[in-house]
Symmetry: C2
Subunit: 347 residues, 2 copies
């Protein structure tokens, strides 16, 4: 019925006494440092097992009295999602302070591989960890690999560079996000025939390209009555997207859906407003922001696919810290979900 636990945790001192060695030797074994006889190691390990010893993280952190410095490289050109992300990094920074960690935020033009690679090369040597909104480019990968070679822990954030030596990717599975959008589109347009407009920021951005791929895959495989139009590139810009959406509506009287894999949703909203209530379009967008939230509540957007920037920021910081201190990483806790928001489950 009830399962009880020990009350006093055994300490390293207990382990040392049990094994008949000193504190320092016990510590060496715990940290797998060498310079300990095989036989002694076994004695200590037996004591650890017997006493169920678990290190006291607070004490370790206190005595180490080391601070960690992390650089977060975020895109300079800020849309609403990036602004949210930056704010969440700021909050995470507050939390990290309590763990002796410090975050410096840098804003870089991540869309230019040369600039981004240079920023990585030029990174002051004071950082033990870097979280970067990456770009999947050979020069960028090389710069990241160089940091790793210098002993800096690197994680990619939101956008990955799979061929690199980064320790972790903190972000969603973008092909799956596209498929999710495709399935919602297909379901919501059940029984209808027509064209679906597809807008991306740029197909040279890995995440946008992957979303487009996943979306189209589901549409063509499972909803043959819905035809995905060739993707338009709006550079995440509202004005461009306004033009694109206006043209889609004008050129395709039988347009039944729009999927925007990128940002710049206000322009699409404007085009739909101009088209009037006569056009009943199922619109699926990404990222919950002030604008998209309002459009979702109004019923203009049918569903939003979201990644939680708060979770991403905290996760990146936790992982960097764990990499530095050798703590365990809990993959479950760090997996970034593909969230679906309808009007009804907004927070």
């Amino acid at each position: 019925m009830t399962e009880h636990r020990l009350l006093r945790r055994s300490t390293l001192e207990d382990v040392a006494r049990e094994a008949g060695v000193s504190l320092a030797t016990a510590d060496r074994v715990v940290h797998r440092r060498d310079g300990v006889r095989e036989k002694t190691i076994r004695r200590v390990e037996a004591a650890i097992a017997k006493l169920g010893y678990r290190p006291n993280a607070a004490a370790a952190s206190l005595s180490r009295n080391k601070t960690w410095r992390f650089a977060f490289m975020l895109p300079a050109n800020s849309n609403a999602f990036i602004a949210n992300l930056a704010e969440q990094v700021e909050r995470t920074s507050d939390w990290l302070t309590g763990q002796n960690g410090f975050i410096d935020v840098m804003r870089v033009d991540v869309f230019d591989p040369v600039t981004l690679a240079k920023a990585l090369w030029d990174l002051p040597a004071v950082y033990e960890g870097v979280a970067v909104v990456a770009l999947d480019d050979a020069r960028v990968r090389a710069a990241m690999d160089d940091l790793v070679a210098r002993g800096v822990h690197v994680v990619t954030l939101v956008s990955d560079a799979p061929g690199s030596r980064r320790a972790n990717y903190v972000g969603i599975d973008n092909p799956a996000a596209g498929r999710t959008a495709g399935s919602l589109m297909g379901r919501f347009l059940r029984g209808q025939k027509g064209f679906v407009g597809i807008i991306t920021g740029s197909l040279s951005l890995r995440d946008h390209a992957e979303r487009h791929f996943g979306f189209r895959q589901v549409l063509s495989a499972e909803y043959p009555d819905l035809v995905g139009l060739p993707p338009a590139e709006g550079r995440d810009d509202s004005a461009r997207n306004h033009e694109i959406a206006r043209a889609l509506l004008a050129q395709h009287p039988d347009l039944v859906g729009i999927y925007n894999a990128g940002a710049g949703n206000e322009g699409i909203a404007a085009a739909l407003r101009e088209a009037g209530a006569g056009r009943d379009i199922v619109w699926i967008a990404h990222e919950l922001t002030g604008d998209t939230r309002r459009l979702l509540l109004e019923g203009t957007i049918a569903a939003i696919i979201n990644q939680d920037p708060g979770h991403e920021a905290r996760s990146a910081a936790r992982i960097l810290l764990a990499l530095c201190t050798g703590q365990l990483i809990y993959p479950d806790q760090e997996r970034i979900r593909i969230e679906i928001f309808l009007r009804d489950n907004l927070n």
Copy 2:
């Protein structure tokens, strides 16, 4: 471009020196303990502000050298969701150990108010916190309030008792979850007319009743072509749900959807199998488990509304710990999301 931060955090010792008082007095001010002259308080507070002092949580935890004991009261009759929850509490317990916290798990028949109230009354006085899968009943609320009066921190988990004095509810907004299911049902059945079967475990369970309420609300307000049938109570039991679903299918040739607000989905799957491929039913269920995951991948279940038991367990533990130590709670991080899973965004 780059924003830098201080490297050495100022300590309480720095604050004391700056204010011209002793460590002990500075500590008294930080913790708002009395026995300090008003003027001294102001001096110390000025020093804190000037130095940007933030307490070092690790040092505090170490010096306090106190362990916390929490009781988690989980339902005795275990369905797959509760089994997941129990497993996640176990994992959380591992993590808590590192924070000097210990969890005792108790399995109680939470469906019987008298038993649950008695279990709360009889709780040994060793616990400084309790997380309980509650039941919204006067006796249970009274027992919880009594614990609170004795200085025990109480949070409700998964199922709330709003009238009580519990500090927090860790779980989803169930009316909103029901509305979410209703909107998905309406969207997925766009353009169709017919009946929708509704199954709950029991309408006397607050969460099930609330989900039913939200679901029906959306259906009747926005999808008048879909008529929700009176709710059947299957007690979260597969065999009963099998009967219920079989009867629904037999009695309503124009049944187009099924919403199960509770557990016991295998029975529904069996009834649908028997009915054969001729019946195309949109089925929406709750909680991602081995069974429902498989049914979702197969296409039998159209969507799953989920609450993350891992998040719930960790959140309950973090909140209890924060209540005990006076640390800040970050509401954003603790909000339990109403998650929507389609085949495409599974994990």
